[in-house]
C-alpha cells in the first residue's frame, strides 16, 4: 500500500481532490438543474394553464367527453381522473421530469412538465 502511495506526486493529490470536488459539484448541476418547475396544461392544443410546481393545486379542465381532473403538487403533477375510455393518462401517474407528458387524447387534454430549459421528447423527433 505504501509503495502505491509513493507513486502519487503532490500535484496528483491536487488533481485527485480537485476532480473529486468537481464531480461532487456536478451532481446538483446535472441532477437538479433540469428539475421540473412548471406544468403546462393544454386543452384542445391551446394552453389552458401554466402552473409553477410549487404549491398544491387542482384543475378541472373540460373537454368533449367531460372533465379531466389534474393535480399539481410541489415538483410533480398528474391526471387524477379522466373520462377517456382507456385511462392511459391517468395510469401514467406522477410526472416529475421536464419533458414528461400525459396526454388524455379522447378528452383533448394534456399535462406536460417543463423545466428551466426547453426539452424535447421522443415525439418531437
Amino acid at each position: 500500500m505504501k509503495s502505491w502511495l509513493a507513486l502519487i506526486r503532490p500535484g496528483d493529490w491536487l488533481v485527485v481532490l480537485g476532480s473529486a470536488a468537481l464531480v461532487g459539484a456536478s451532481i446538483p448541476v446535472f441532477w437538479q438543474g433540469g428539475l421540473a418547475d412548471r406544468a403546462i396544461i393544454r386543452q384542445e392544443g391551446r394552453i389552458f394553464a401554466e402552473v409553477d410546481l410549487k404549491a398544491s393545486k387542482q384543475f378541472a379542465v373540460s373537454g368533449p367527453l367531460g372533465t379531466t381532473l389534474i393535480a399539481v403538487e410541489p415538483g410533480r403533477a398528474r391526471v387524477v381522473a379522466d373520462p377517456g375510455p382507456r385511462q392511459y393518462c391517468v395510469r401514467q401517474g406522477w410526472l416529475m421530469r421536464p419533458g414528461e407528458i400525459a396526454i388524455c387524447a379522447p378528452n383533448r387534454v394534456s399535462v406536460q412538465i417543463a423545466g428551466r430549459t426547453r426539452v424535447y421528447d421522443s415525439i418531437s423527433y
Binding site: 509503495s3 507513486l7 506526486r9 500535484g11 488533481v15 485527485v16 476532480s19 441532477w31
Partner: protein, 174 residues
C-alpha cells in the same frame, strides 16, 4: 514498386499497440453496470508510451488500438467506434498539453485522470450531438465523471508502478 522498410520504431509501435488491444479486449470482457463505464485499461499503455516514447508514439499506439480493437470486437464504424475515436482523440490532445506539467509535481496519476475526463467528456458531447440529441444524456454526467476519476486514478497508479519498476530501455517490449 517501393518496399516499405520496417523500422525498430514501427516494431515497437506494433508491439505496444498489441498490448493495448489486448487490454481493450480484457476491458470489453469486464461486465459493466452502465454502457460507457469501463476501466479503460488500455490507457495504461498509452500513459506508459507517453512517458517513455513521447506523444507521437502514443498517438500511433492509440490510433492502432482503436482501429484494431473495434475490428476485433466487431464495432468498426459503428457508433461505438466513433465514440471511442472521439474520446481517444480528446484524451490524447489533453495528454499533449498536460505532459508539459512539471513532472516533479504531476505524475502519471494526474495525466491519467485528466485524460479520463477528456475521454468521457468527448464521448458525452458526441453522444449529445449525434446519437441522443437530448440533454438527458448529461443526466449521467456525474456517474461518468465519478467513474472517470476512480478508473483514471487506478490506471494512473498502475502506469506509475510500471514506469517505476521497469527501467527505461529501447527494447520493443518495454
Amino acid at each position: 514498386m517501393t518496399q516499405l522498410a520496417v523500422t525498430a520504431e514501427d516494431r515497437r509501435v506494433a508491439w505496444l499497440a498489441t498490448a493495448a488491444v489486448g487490454l481493450s479486449l480484457v476491458d470489453a470482457a469486464i461486465p459493466s453496470p452502465l454502457p460507457g463505464v469501463k476501466p479503460g485499461l488500455a490507457n495504461i499503455v498509452t500513459l506508459v508510451v507517453l512517458a517513455r516514447y513521447g506523444w507521437a508514439t502514443a498517438v500511433w499506439v492509440s490510433a492502432l488500438r482503436v482501429l484494431a480493437g473495434s475490428l476485433l470486437l466487431g464495432y468498426f464504424l459503428a457508433p461505438g467506434f466513433f465514440l471511442s475515436l472521439t474520446g481517444t482523440t480528446l484524451s490524447l490532445l489533453t495528454l499533449g498539453v498536460a505532459r508539459h506539467l512539471p513532472p516533479r509535481w504531476f505524475g502519471p496519476v494526474s495525466l491519467s485522470i485528466l485524460a479520463a475526463f477528456a475521454h468521457i467528456g468527448g464521448q458525452l458531447l458526441l453522444a449529445r450531438a449525434w446519437l441522443i440529441p437530448h440533454d438527458g444524456v448529461f443526466l449521467l454526467t456525474p456517474v461518468f465523471a465519478g467513474a472517470a476519476l476512480v478508473f483514471g486514478t487506478m490506471n494512473g497508479l498502475i502506469a506509475a508502478k510500471l514506469l517505476a519498476e521497469t527501467p527505461p530501455s529501447d527494447s520493443a517490449d518495454a
